[in-house]
């Protein structure tokens, strides 16, 4: 456990230092969500209706693009070799890196979501729920994206491959995340069914993501 804690601390330190990318995910989220209304038009009623969808798409893209560097830097400087050799299980190592990644990239998305929700004319009382669904759903995006990041590094290809691989896998999270958010805002449909399914997706991804990513690393890098 000490080994995993040391890894968690190191990854978080690296993310917040120069060139780390901690704030970059949040900035990207901000820019993407700000830019969408320029394509949609300043119709406030329309923006309010599709606001949750815009937020989720922004969070999805921001999570995806930030995953690009998850394994790449360790692979490039030889750290990945050393991480794979040790006594600690590779699945646990991958899961720890994913947790560090979510804390430094996913959590900031959740924290600036209220600001963006206001810009999209989402009702004030719905903002906490939007944050809750994002807080539950963004870890799923990170853990599902793990396998894409691992495959991309094993094949030595960049971020677009990762996006092509992971976007289809992320569709369920997107569907239920937006559905839960809309249910909370409009109160026309019940909130708990989509929300509990979202929670289930996240929990399942906690198990399958690291297992798949570790397998991808082992087979791809030998």
């Amino acid at each position: 456990m000490g080994a995993l804690f040391a890894l968690l601390v190191r990854d978080m330190r690296l993310a917040v230092r120069v060139g780390g990318g901690a704030i970059m995910g949040a900035l990207f989220f901000l820019v993407v969500v700000s830019v969408m209304p320029f394509a949609i038009g300043p119709d406030l009623a329309l923006l309010a209706r599709i606001g949750p969808a815009v937020l989720w798409l922004g969070a999805l893209l921001a999570s995806l693009l930030a995953l690009d560097r998850l394994f790449a830097t360790d692979y490039e400087d030889g750290s990945l070799d050393l991480l794979m050799i040790g006594e600690t299980q590779l699945e646990l190592i991958v899961a720890t890196k994913a947790i560090a990644h979510w804390l430094t990239t996913g959590l900031p998305l959740v924290l600036i979501a209220p600001l963006l929700a206001l810009m999209l004319n989402v009702e004030l009382r719905a903002v906490p729920v939007v944050m809750l669904t994002l807080a539950v759903g963004t870890p799923a995006l990170t853990f599902i994206g793990l396998v894409g990041a691992a495959l991309a590094v094993a094949l030595r290809r960049g971020g677009l491959l990762l996006a092509v691989l992971v976007l289809p896998l992320a569709i369920p999270v997107l569907i239920f995340g937006v559905a839960a958010t809309n249910a909370a805002i409009a109160e026309a449909t019940p909130f708990s069914p989509p929300f509990t399914i979202l929670c289930a997706l996240t929990l399942v991804s906690f198990v399958f993501g690291p297992v798949a990513a570790a397998a991808a690393l082992r087979h791809g890098l030998e």
């Binding site: 080994a3 060139g19 830097t73 400087d77 070799d81 050799i85 890098l221």
Partner: protein
């Protein structure tokens, strides 16, 4: 303790890199792996560490820690130095000690590698030789019986090479094993040679 390799074969990228490699190493012995570039020196080391699959053959370790894989009892010093530029020298070393569980202290290892004065400097400012010395400090801090060294003396000046050779002799005297891939001698006269071609 004895490390035995029987009929090792390595295939990378569809190409057979080497085959029928045999060697035997006991405690206190060193082996130098030589050969031209592309002969598979690095691949052999990575195979012993467990990073590359054996296409054929067997690797056996007798007398090592019970129930542990070979990879858990080696220390692999590869081409790259695995240093993070945005962490300080001390933070880099502290991480690896925390992760791989070494009993050596950070300060002692830095002193042994002559990096004590640079402990709070970000690794980005280090020269290639200093980064190599940081990797060597990691080797010294994390005590493992088998050392797998890939071109350990690259980027090192003469004084640092001599210091490393001394450490290697100490390691052998304490019953450790060294397998080093290099183009030339590394300062251990008694090393046997395995030539890959």
């Amino acid at each position: 303790m004895e490390l035995r390799a029987e009929e090792l074969t390595c295939v990378r990228g569809g190409r057979e890199v080497f085959r029928h490699v045999n060697f035997r190493l006991t405690a206190g012995q060193a082996m130098l792996v030589t050969g031209r570039n592309g002969a598979g020196k690095s691949s052999l080391l990575r195979m012993i560490a467990g990073l590359v699959r054996l296409a054929a053959g067997r690797l056996l370790l007798e007398g090592g820690a019970p129930g542990a894989e070979i990879g858990e009892q080696v220390h692999y010093l590869g081409h790259q130095d695995a240093t993070k530029p945005s962490l300080t020298v001390r933070e880099n070393l502290q991480f690896w000690i925390g992760f791989q569980g070494g009993d050596g202290g950070v300060k002692a290892a830095l002193e042994a590698a002559d990096l004590a004065m640079l402990s709070e400097i970000p690794a980005a400012y280090l020269s290639a030789g200093q980064r190599r010395r940081l990797a060597i400090a990691r080797l010294l801090a994390i005590g493992r019986p088998i050392w797998l060294l890939d071109e350990p003396t690259s980027s090192l000046d003469a004084a640092s090479q001599e210091r490393l050779a001394e450490r290697m002799r100490e390691h052998l005297a304490q019953g450790g094993m060294i397998i080093a891939a290099a183009h030339g001698p590394i300062g251990i006269e008694s090393a046997s040679e395995l030539r890959l071609d």
